[in-house]
């Protein structure tokens, strides 16, 4: 049963990810991306990383992708807004190199990373909310606090780049 769920969700994740990049319509891309995220969330649950799975659905599939969808709909892009078509040679080369890269990654991961001894070290309580909270506020409190500075920077940036010019406001 475990294998069935794993292969089904992995298959859905890969197919949806491929559809994200092959769709011409950005709205369809976003919807496939949401599906890929949900399939990934199921994989996380199987790895007993429940908290990550919930975050994946609530934050990524929920909040961020809905925002994406709204922005894309607001922009209302047409085909010719994407600029000229790529040279066919270029797009073929991209595909070939992409396939080579995926093959390389698969060989390296299956022969190397899969063999490492520390891979199955995670304990039973790994990934529940309590565990995540404890590590976040004890062991990783320093990077956690750094992210707060990062958020200030992001807010300033959004305000500066999004704000209208003074003259525009008057006029």
């Amino acid at each position: 049963m475990e294998y069935v769920i794993f292969f089904a969700s992995a298959f859905v994740a890969i197919i949806c990810a491929l559809l994200v990049i092959s769709q011409k319509n950005p709205v369809a891309s976003v919807i496939y991306l949401i599906m890929a995220f949900v399939a990934q969330a199921i994989l996380y649950i199987q790895l007993s990383a429940l908290f990550v799975a919930i975050l994946q659905i609530v934050v990524y599939a929920g909040a961020i992708m809905v925002l994406f969808l709204f922005v894309i709909m607001l922009l209302n892009l047409r085909r010719d807004d994407f600029g000229p078509e790529k040279h066919p040679l270029q797009s073929w080369l991209t595909r070939i190199f992409g396939i080579v890269l995926v093959a390389e990654l698969m060989i390296m991961i299956s022969r190397g990373v899969g063999q490492s001894e520390s891979m199955d070290r995670a304990g039973a309580e790994f990934g529940n909310v309590e565990q995540v909270a404890t590590t976040l506020f004890t062991k990783y409190v320093f990077p956690f606090e750094l992210t707060s500075i990062l958020l200030i920077v992001a807010i300033i940036g959004a305000v500066v780049l999004g704000k209208r010019r003074a003259e525009e406001e008057e006029g």
Partner: protein, 485 residues
């Protein structure tokens, strides 16, 4: 868990100061906004003084190996703060002319410096990554700061997208590092326990390639350099100078922490030696030859900085005490020369509204002092005695020769240095030899005092290291003590 706030006082101070600058912006009327520049200058200098007085050494570790204040970190912090000081100083004219949100401009430069300071002190993957983002995200914003100037927005967007891509590569590599060792702490030896199982090499190579590619984007190494010329051209010039020096120094420090700490140097030849050597060779060849073709001085300096990163990596591959101290002195020399050259580019841009190399014609007649300063900076970048660049290149090449296996790389480095002289000399030729009709209305240029300070600091640094390098070499040799070879 050891909450060592005492060893991060410079960072905490500078972060507080960024908030002070941001808030002070609200209290100054439009004509008095120059005060913000002086405040930022003070912030950088005060933080540099604090760095000097903060204890360094093997015991200054905080937050469970996440923050490590060794001599290596404090050296890079000084470089970053000096670069920030000179960038802010040279931004006087640019800020008056085309920057609207002045408080945010200076605040973000300071915030970025805070991120870089945390970055060079990080000895742990999670904090290293967050610090890296903290240092680059302000730079995306600053690059796009001139909203009326289309090239600036384009540059900001390009930088953002490629920055996000490179972060993804870096994180992917880091996740393999964590997966294989079960630890995120970058201390020599976390890898040695892995070497027993034979198949693990594949995983190591995979994580190494991904991490080097991710950091390669940040350092603008060939073949990850495509964004650099466009971003350097589009960004406000003081930010370009800051990008080319501070962010390069911080990225290099991160690369050193990861490669020297995780892929320990004993196994260098096997894992990363050849990879980084090839990247260095490519950066030197492509950077220098592409710089020959440029007609815009900012683009030329962008390619030149790609090539300079290649020379720095030559010392990095040597993986020895000599190599690392060579890198340190190189970064110091590069800091003064590059920041100085960019300060002059800002001045010329302000007076002539042009970044084209042809427009430097006749500069020696109009303002001989500026022309002489520019010449010294360019000669230092090319590595001609008696400037700092010569000492730096000499040290780096010597380190690579002593390594024994890197003779081919040094040959490429020397050959491309000769190429580099051509394009640096072209600017000098324009300034001194090319005749130009000088309109009678053009008087001698008078530069504002902050930009003069930036040029002077660059000039003094370049000449002192070039003529009397001993104290700096001594300083550089202490930088290496926290790494094992």
């Amino acid at each position: 868990m050891n909450l060592r706030f005492d060893i991060m006082i410079p960072e905490l101070f500078l972060f507080g100061w960024a908030i002070v600058v941001l808030t002070a912006d609200l209290f100054f009327i439009k004509e008095k906004k120059n005060a913000l520049l002086y405040m930022s200058q003070f912030g950088f200098l005060a933080a540099a003084a604090l760095v000097i007085f903060t204890p360094t050494g093997p015991n200054e570790v905080g937050f469970g190996y996440m923050f490590y204040n060794d001599t290596f970190a404090s050296f890079f912090k000084i470089v970053i703060l000096l670069a920030g000081f000179m960038a802010v100083s040279s931004s006087f004219e640019a800020v008056q002319k085309s920057i609207e949100h002045k408080g945010e401009f200076f605040g973000l430069v300071i915030m970025s410096a805070v991120g870089m300071m945390f970055l060079v002190s990080s000895t742990e993957l999670v904090s290293l990554y967050v610090a890296l983002e903290l240092s680059t995200i302000p730079l995306f914003i600053l690059t796009a700061f001139q909203k009326r100037y289309l090239k600036s927005s384009e540059a900001g967007l390009k930088y953002l997208i490629l920055g996000a891509l490179s972060s993804a590569l870096l994180l992917y590599g880091m996740s393999f590092m964590y997966g294989m060792t079960g630890t995120t702490v970058l201390l020599a030896g976390s890898i040695t326990m892995l070497l027993n199982s034979a198949n693990v090499h594949y995983g190591l190579v995979l994580s190494l390639v991904l991490v080097v590619a991710g950091l390669g984007f940040k350092l603008a190494l060939v073949p990850f350099h495509m964004w650099a010329p466009d971003v350097y051209e589009g960004a406000p010039t003081p930010i370009t100078s800051y990008l080319s020096v501070a962010s390069k120094a911080a990225g290099l420090a991160a690369l050193t922490r990861i490669v020297y700490g995780f892929y320990t140097v004993g196994t260098a030849a096997e894992y990363w030696g050849i990879l980084i050597a090839i990247l260095a060779a490519l950066a030197m060849i492509i950077g220098n030859f592409a710089a020959l073709l440029q007609s815009n001085i900012k683009r030329m300096l962008a390619y030149s900085s790609i090539a300079q990163a290649g020379y720095i990596l030559v010392g990095f591959v040597a993986a020895s005490q000599l190599g690392l101290s060579g890198i340190s002195i190189y970064i110091f020399a590069y800091l003064f020369a590059n920041m100085g050259a960019f300060a002059i580019v800002v001045a010329v841009d302000h007076k002539l509204n042009s970044d084209r190399i042809e427009d430097y014609a006749g500069m020696a007649r109009r303002s001989p002092l500026i022309a002489v300063c520019m010449t010294i900076f360019l000669l230092s970048l090319a590595g001609i005695p008696p400037t700092a660049g010569f000492i730096a290149k000499y040290k780096v090449f010597m380190a690579a020769i002593e390594n024994g296996t890197l003779f081919w790389l040094v040959m490429i480095a020397v050959a491309t240095t000769v190429v580099s002289i051509f394009y640096y000399a072209r600017v000098i030729k324009e300034m001194f030899i090319t005749e130009r009709e000088v309109e009678s209305s053009e008087s001698k240029w008078i530069l504002s005092s902050p930009i003069t300070i930036a040029i002077l600091v660059g000039l003094i640094g370049t000449l002192i290291i070039g003529i009397y390098p001993e104290p700096f070499l001594e300083l550089a040799s202490t930088v290496t003590q926290s790494f094992v070879y």
